[in-house]
Amino acid sequence: MKRIDPVRLEVLKNAFDAIADEMALMLMRAAYSPIVRDSMDYSTALCDARGQTLAQGVTTPMHLGSFYDAMLHLMEKFADDIHEGDIFIGNDPYAAAGQHLPDIYIIEPLFHSGRLVAWATTIAHHADVGGIVPGSNALGATEIYQEGLRLPFLKLQSKGVPNQTIWDIIALNVRVPDLVTGDLRAQMAACQSCRRSFNDLVARYGIDEVLAYAEELHEYAERLTRAEIAELPDGDYSFTDHIDGLGENPEPIVFQVKVSVRGDRILIDFAGSSKQVQGGVNTPLPFTKASVYTALRSVMQSDIPNCHGFQRAIDVTAPPGTVVNSVHPAPCGARGITGYRVIDAVFGALAGPLPERVTADGMGGSTVPTFGGWHEGKPFVFTETVMGTWGAGAHHDGQVGVPHMGANQANVPIEMIETNYPLRIRRYGTIPDSGGPGRHRGGASFVREYEFLADEGVLSLRSDKAAFPPHGLAGGHCGRGPLSRLTTAEGSRTLPVLLTTPVTVRRGDVFCHLSPSGGGYGDPLDRPVAEIVEDLADGIITPAHAEEVYGVVMAGGAPDPAATERRRAEIRARGAGA
């Protein structure tokens, strides 16, 4: 081809980005379920004819890089049977290279003069796809057959003609058909906007030009990525992270990661990680890869395009049959937590070579409570992704009210929840003394407390980090683990972090979740007294905590310098003796 013009490249890159963003906006605005429209748990992408992502909407990072395997699968299955006006649907992790059943792909091929030139692709987390629990993220599932409706890639629409059979099957198999079909239509609306805008682009620049620069965009992203990697010191960096384990008697699930930097390449291997488990936290390899890409992208400083070229310098391997590369029929309904832990583990490994670019450990992704049941003659399912808290960094305190790096999701407004569901939120706010102590303090734990207002229903829960609370860095202490309490007429009890069997809830029952908090960074005894005084004024810590952990003694509302010095010396001596 002719010489690449750097201006034209940037122009078309921006145009691709604009298309993907427009798709994301269309999808959000037309969507029905809170998890799509408020939490924004979905992604949109423009892919080239080979299914390689050219641009992705600014929504869920963990979906970056996960489209490609699904696209390969789709193109292999349909090969010569892909036509203008087709719309594909699929969700199965094994039969469609999907992620977990609630994440449904809607994909439309884009044609120019009869030739397949690109793909409009969307994936959205649906409120329910059937299965043994409302919300379809059953932690207690032992096989994927229990998790809900499995769809290999199918034509939801063929040459412009809708396949009503598929719509009927979906509507019958999900608990909230209006939400699911409404969100599917929103995904189709996003594909339509992609088609329209892509056609405009082709009309303006010509198809050959657009495709040539699409190709160059991958090369460009790869160059940027390799330049970043080349600056890292060569070496192997290992880290071990965990998920607490399933049910009442959890056995730790191990994430063993080794990050090997070799010149301008990175190899990431998960040998030594746990075997796949009898519970919905397994993930097929595509999602593990996507999570790794998210972590690596987050420590790179260049503005690398969200396209396939980024992935070419990165190899991800994991032994088949492990929790990070599960094989049929392992269940994976709650696999999001596994993706979060993959990201955390890679950050943990990178803390060695890049201590200034990662933070101490945070909340570890969302806590996901799901309430389901019947109310006033209608079924309801309420799920939300509750986040989040970050660990402290080398130069700043951790924050609360921020998402995990893997999923930039919003909370659901309390007033919306109470208007639309038989639930009342009783408390939502931060907990004093909870942030992991350090020179820089970890973000606080926060509470979200729900009162159930329907006659009867079930609650499922996905959370983590009780047995392995968020770690600190450089002498910072670890954060707190979570605490989930269910209070009923019979009394109050602590729920396991990963509830394998949903519990029954009745009117007036209260579910209270305290989130994990972030780890600290550096020795808490090095935290300046002035910052402690500010924390006290804001009620982020109490005087007892200030004295016990930070060694700052208050007297009459002001710090006592002499007593503080003594107290800090005592704590240091105790630490040295221990």
Binding site: E10, E22, L179, R185, S193, R223, G401, Q409, E415, Y428
Partner: protein, 702 residues
């Protein structure tokens, strides 16, 4: 307010304060003075006084002063607001801190969100609770209110915001707290969320209310100071402020709800654009405003600016601001839907490590400014590229007041762009031009294609210091066929103020299935909104033009579409069908489908009240006398036109004799307009430069 009295407008920017008036013969008079950041009101009055002197008028002849300023925005951006307390429902002290959780940037573990406007120590909980229907679950415990107010007194608090859960459904508790506060602190600046934004979603309502209190005392101080200075200069003490939705209101009203003026700066220009285009007979237009740091786009449909209430202040500039929320403070009041991108004359050009050419969003600002200013700027900017290409005068800008050293532009562009990329200098400079156009394309798309509007169906009106330089390229990239550059385009925001109507709006949450709507249900609610709006304007309802609108959605969706709802005054069964059809048409236009079997519901009622009259006057054009002859320039218009093209440099008046084929450069005191070889430019009777682009269908793309 009578038509015969003189109206004079002052728009305060970071560097300059622009003053404009319309003379008795409807021609424009303007004055530019330096802004006075220590107290902007000083510069405003000086500019007005100077303009009057130049025009030989006395202060007594001024009937009305109109004003727009960034004082409210700057208070937030600089963190210089009042010491503000927030009173909220027990259990929800941290709503402002938790926000909506989303952050504006992906892949940044070191991202820091902006600190809450009200620090935790000044956020107080009171015992009370409503449900979503407005039923009292826990009665207000006034001892907890007094306990909070004890702390308020001890902490030297200057303003209080009150936002309780579900107060939009039942304001009783907030109102009672308001009474208690006024009893104890009669002079305290107080905002109740039911007065500021009686709508569902607690974070957005809390944030908007907190903003109102936080900026209240400083804005009040500024407006009072300005009133005093005006009075001292013999000008009317009473004056009008532009608000973010493009209307003007008495400054005394603004003091109660200052949150509504946060985005008034860019609003004035957009409003001016809508009026100029209306007078030119173009109801549908894209308003394009390009200055030194940013470019802004807004959409005019059927003569009206499109507004939104999905807005954040201080969120920084973002290419996809609609998606990447969370960088600023949510402000859910009507603002003109203006998208802003970091693309201006001062935008810095750079090359990333993979050899990609980038422009902005960093700006060289006015100090040191572009390299060609010779004030120490050492990095190439968009203006430097424009100098190299021949678009801008290579000796001086602004009538000679800003000297230009074109050699410096060539040197930095060659060193930092052309040589690293292996391009010749013209190709590098044109690349910069093309790229900045491309960045701005995205800004325009976010108010057009992102809303299901096709930019090709619109005319573009361009203004701001750099609007005329880049408008044709931008129009071409979007498929827009006609560009209008109005007179006074460099001081256009001040002109826009002169064109504004006294206008305000009010809204209230009202969730109701469409089929259950009746006149009995709607009439009292709309009447209350109309009363609120007319109270704010200070005129009786009969004197006002009232527009009724409502937000509708399919039951279950969370995003609504705002549509006219005039039928609400006397509703029949047939009307409901018409309303449903209108909603579904718009839904289909945006999203490509309709759901005939799904229920439609009403969510929010809206009223806009307007006192028409003064703002109808739009200037006539009087050509400036005796423009001196300027030398031709060799100008580069891109590879499609070969190398450099000999180009005539003219003033606006030179276009009066009928359409002229490009290439042309129109140089004026306050701006430059570029007309490429394949375009034609003419002057319309209003003095607008009208540029017609060739039909893209006839054109073979370079």
């Amino acid at each position: 307010m009578t038509a015969s009295t003189l109206r004079i407008a002052a728009d305060v920017g970071g560097t300059f304060t622009d003053v404009a008036m319309i003379r008795g013969d409807k021609s424009i008079a303007t004055r530019k003075v330096s802004s006075t950041p220590d107290d902007y009101s000083r510069g405003v009055v000086r500019g007005i006084v100077e303009l009057l002197e130049v025009e030989g008028l006395s202060a007594e002849e001024v009937g009305e002063v109109l004003h727009a300023s960034t004082v409210a925005t700057n208070t937030i951006l600089e963190g210089k607001g009042a010491r503000t307390a927030l009173l909220t429902t027990a259990g929800f002290r941290d709503i402002l801190e938790m926000r909506r959780v989303r952050v504006p940037r992906l892949y940044d573990p070191l991202y820091r969100k902006p600190p809450a406007l009200v620090p935790r120590r000044w956020r107080f909980e009171v015992e009370e609770r409503m449900d979503h229907r407005g039923n009292v679950l826990t009665a207000l415990d006034e001892t907890t209110v007094h306990r909070a107010l004890d702390a308020v007194a001890a902490e030297g608090i200057e303003a209080i915001a009150v936002c309780l859960l579900h107060s939009y459904a039942n304001p009783a508790h907030e109102r009672r707290i308001g009474e208690i506060i006024r009893e104890r602190f009669p002079a305290m600046f107080v905002s109740l969320s039911v007065d500021i934004l009686p709508e569902i979603r607690e974070y957005e309502r809390s944030s908007t209310t907190a903003i109102n209190s936080y900026i209240g005392p400083p804005v009040r101080g500024y407006l009072n100071a300005l009133a005093e200075r005006l009075h001292a200069a013999g000008l009317p003490r009473q004056f009008f402020m532009m608000h973010s939705a493009g209307g003007i209101l008495d400054a005394r009203t603004v003091m109660e709800r200052p949150a509504q003026i946060v985005e008034c700066g860019p609003a004035a220009g957009a409003l001016g654009a809508s009026k100029v285009m209306g007078r030119a007979g173009e109801g549908d237009a894209i308003s394009f405003d390009m200055g030194g740091t940013t470019a802004k786009a807004a959409l005019i449909e059927n003569g009206r600016l499109v507004t939104t209430d999905d807005y954040e202040v201080g969120g920084g500039i973002s290419l996809s601001s609609r998606l990447a929320k969370g960088g600023g403070y949510a402000l859910k009041l009507p603002v003109i839907d203006i998208s802003e991108v970091g693309a201006g004359g001062g935008s810095i050009v750079w090359i990333d490590r993979a050899g990609g050419l980038k422009v902005g969003p960093q700006s060289a600002g006015s100090v040191p400014g572009p390299a060609c200013y010779g004030q120490g700027g050492d990095r190439p900017t968009v203006t430097d590229a424009n100098v190299v290409l021949g678009y801008l005068n290579p000796q001086a800008l602004a009538g000679g007041s800003v000297p230009i050293d074109a050699g410096l532009s060539r040197a930095v562009l060659a060193r930092d762009v052309a040589e690293p990329l292996g391009l010749d200098l013209d190709a590098a400079a044109f690349g910069v031009h093309e790229l900045i156009t491309n960045v701005m394309t995205r800004g325009v798309k976010s108010v057009t294609t992102y809303r299901g509007r096709d930019p090709r169906e619109f005319t573009m009106i361009a203004f701001g210091g750099n609007g005329g330089v880049h408008s044709v390229s931008l129009a071409r990239a979007l498929g827009v066929r006609r560009v209008v550059v109005p007179p006074g385009s460099g001081v256009f925001s001040a002109l826009g103020l002169l064109y504004a109507d006294v206008e305000t709006s009010a809204s209230a949450a009202f969730l109701c299935p469409l089929e259950k709507l009746t006149t009995d249900l709607l009439a009292p609610r709309f009447a209350e909104l109309v009363a609120r709006a007319s109270h704010e304007i200070g005129r009786s309802t009969e004197e006002l033009q009232i527009e009724r609108r409502a937000d509708f959605r399919y039951a279950g969706q969370a995003f609504e579409l705002t549509l006219p709802f005039e039928e609400s005054a006397a509703l029949s069964a047939g009307d409901l069908t018409a309303v449903r059809d209108r909603f579904e048409d718009e839904h289909e236009r945006l999203y490509g489908y309709r759901l005939a079997r799904n229920a439609v519901e009403l969510v929010t009622l809206r009223v806009t009240a307007r006192l028409a009259g003064a703002g109808q006057v739009v200037s006539d054009y009087r050509p400036a006398q005796g423009g001196e002859a300027r030398p031709d320039r060799m100008v580069h218009f891109g590879p499609a036109f070969g190398g450099r093209v000999a180009t005539r440099v003219v003033d606006r008046a030179a276009l009066a004799g009928g359409p002229k084929q490009g290439p042309l450069i129109v140089e004026e005191y306050d701006g430059t307009t570029v007309v490429p070889p394949d375009c034609r430019a003419a002057l319309d009777p209003l003095g607008n430069i009208v540029i017609d682009l060739p039909d893209p269908a006839q054109e073979t793309r370079p």
